[in-house]
């Protein structure tokens, strides 16, 4: 008897609306299969199955608003009698969300490094597997992994930092180059207490991860680049300039829409979230510094093609075919053992646009790399 419950997408989420079921009672679902559409006041997304099994009962009805942890559906073998399922549904108790910093719940930590605040989210702290660190891209923050953290934290501790100059971390930068950003990731590796970690980097975060691999190869169990920078020279400079300059809602929206295959993915809450970041004193300057340092003349400054070709560390590259920021063709021409996943309906944010596929592929990639 396996309960499917209302997920927790981000620290602030307390309840969600089940807008539609994508499965029916009697269906057999795979782990990672799309189960339902769920909406909060901030986001709407597809919820993927945390487990495989036979759907015996859909408990929640479309349109219902339910707290995090509330029972949505029940998976059970065909042999389980209806009465047993009735009893399970009747006796189900919504667990109180775990207090911050304990168990597998999502929490936020802040440490000081080099006189600067470094903020990161932690989930699945109690899990056994090799920890994974999720490194966001230019202008992003740890919330870019909203649809990944909970799923990935089932098997391992997940750490998602806000890079220097971003999110809730300090905005003052020394040079804003890859070395400085990689050092922050190294500080998070230390925080995990583990000898080795999996690195997952999105966009510029992938270039940062490559730099970590280059400098501390013994600490990296595997690396996954999602719409990665660092493998080619071109980048959509128009996006970078528009994002750094945008102050008004409309301009922020236009810039963000370049990131997604489906422009409707850009919600008012996402726009306000970006504005809350760029309004902070020093944020826009930090972005400009990072852009100048890493994308001089609108081209990528660092190339890790040679490293990617030579390293023995398992590599995975994930691209959205409709990426308008970094051309997926930049992932071509590498040795066979560099695994590549290309997703037809995603843009530059496949971890959000095709979260189920990305989570599943990452989980496989981590296991193959040894824990």
């Amino acid at each position: 008897m396996l309960p499917i419950v209302m997920p927790k997408w981000g620290l602030a989420m307390e309840e969600g609306t089940l807008t539609a079921w994508l499965i029916a009672a009697g269906d057999t679902v795979e782990k990672g299969q799309e189960l339902a559409e769920i909406e909060t006041t901030k986001i709407a997304n597809v919820y993927e199955s945390p487990a495989a099994g036979l759907v015996r009962r859909l408990v929640a009805q479309p349109g219902e608003v339910l707290p995090v942890g509330a029972l949505l559906a029940v998976l059970a073998p065909a042999s389980a009698p209806e009465a047993e399922i009735d009893a399970f549904v009747g006796g189900f108790v919504v667990r109180d969300p775990e207090p911050e910093g304990e168990g597998s719940g999502l929490s936020e930590r802040r440490i000081e490094r080099d006189g600067r605040m470094l903020s990161f989210k932690v989930a699945g702290a109690g899990a056994d597997g090799v920890p994974a660190i999720l490194v966001h891209g230019f202008g992003g923050d740890s919330d870019n992994w909203l649809f990944n953290i909970e799923a990935l934290a089932q098997d391992r501790p997940i750490y998602a930092p806000d890079l220097p100059g971003h999110g809730k971390s300090g905005k003052q930068l020394l040079r804003g180059d890859l070395d400085e950003l990689a050092k922050a990731v190294a500080a998070v590796i230390e925080e995990t207490g583990a000898p080795r970690v999996h690195l997952v980097g999105h966009s510029l975060g992938a270039a940062v991860s490559f730099r970590v691999l280059e400098r501390w190869p013994d600490r990296v169990a595997s690396l996954a680049g999602i719409a990665p920078a660092g493998l080619g020279t071109t980048v959509n400079d128009g996006f970078v300039r528009a994002f750094v300059a945008a102050e008004r809602r409309k301009d922020v929206k236009a810039a963000l829409q370049m990131l997604f295959a489906d422009p409707d993915q850009v919600s008012a809450a996402m726009i306000e979230g970006v504005q809350r970041f760029t309004r902070l004193e020093g944020a826009r300057e930090a972005l400009a510094t990072i852009a100048r340092e890493n994308l001089p003349d609108g081209r990528q400054a660092a190339s890790f093609r040679a490293l990617a070709a030579e390293t023995a560390t398992p590599l995975l590259l994930v691209w959205g075919e409709r990426d308008a920021i970094i051309d997926p063709a930049q992932g071509e021409g590498l040795p066979e053992r560099v695994a590549v996943l290309r997703l037809p309906d995603a843009g530059h944010m496949p971890q959000m646009e095709a979260a189920a596929s990305v989570n599943q592929r990452l989980a496989e990639h981590f296991s193959a790399a040894g824990g």
């Binding site: 006041t41 905005k171 008004r248 809602r249 008012a268 309004r279 004193e281 020093g282």
Partner: protein, 336 residues
Amino acid sequence: MPKKTYRQAINEAIAGEMRRDHRVIVMGEDNAGGAGAPGENDAWGGVLGVTKGLFPEFGPERVLDTPISESAFIGAAAGAAATGLRPVAELMFVDFMGVCFDQIFNQAAKFRYMFGGHAVTPLVIRTMYGAGFRAASQHSQCLYPVFTHIPGLKVVLPSSPYEAKGLMIQAIRDDDPVVFFEHKVLYDETGDVPDEAYTIPFGEANLTREGKDVTIVAFGRMVGFANQAADTLKRDGISATVIDPRTTSPLDSEAILDSVAETGRLVVVDEAHPRCSMAADIARLVAEEAFSSLKAPIRTVTPPHTPVPFSPALEDLYVPGPARIVEAATALTKHG
């Protein structure tokens, strides 16, 4: 993210700007507290404690207690602004503003225009407004429409702690006179407020809910009620956009018109008296500029055109709440 109250957010904004810019000063009744009695300095920090802690840090040169003479100290603040300081003057309750209309309407609001752009007036007038405090007719009015009526004034209505800090910093850095409306009932509301400084530009609305069936425009304290109403409506299958214009002058009319073009239905929620109000103003805007988008008549949700009653039972009936917003929005969707 640190949680702070609306009161703390405003205090933090003013303190931060005072540290950053020595021209920023604070003045008003009991801003320091116990004027003339040194043992009572910082006893009050304004009547509801918003400026508490500023006197010990910045001293009597920059935190001034004034006599109970609004016309005198608002006039002094306008003059100080025109001659190089950046005063933040607290006029306790907006209900008392009548005694210094000349200083605001004819002086501060007119300097830039009448001196051909050669004068700036970086003045912030902080004031408390709104019902719900059992404070009767003379201490409960909204009156922001009166100030919105005057060209040359900027009028700001923060709806949450986050908004309050960013809008206050913007108000202090702005070179024009700003009337900053603080709702008494919101002072103890808490929310995420960054420790760092940030500014929220004037004239840019915030979309606190996003939907396709109806547009709800709400001001100040009414934004929270509109959000609650939108969440209730969602359970009934009606999706609402909630727009918090943040400032009534300048007004982000584009955000309102864009949204009405999508939804075809408009509810305006305004705690001010209904005649010549923001509700009336926005209804005028949409009727004039977006008539062809409308699928139903415009609805306004406001108090009746009466003074705020002192009876608690009547005051509770007087202030618009989520139920009335839900009712208005639902009626519109049934219209067509």
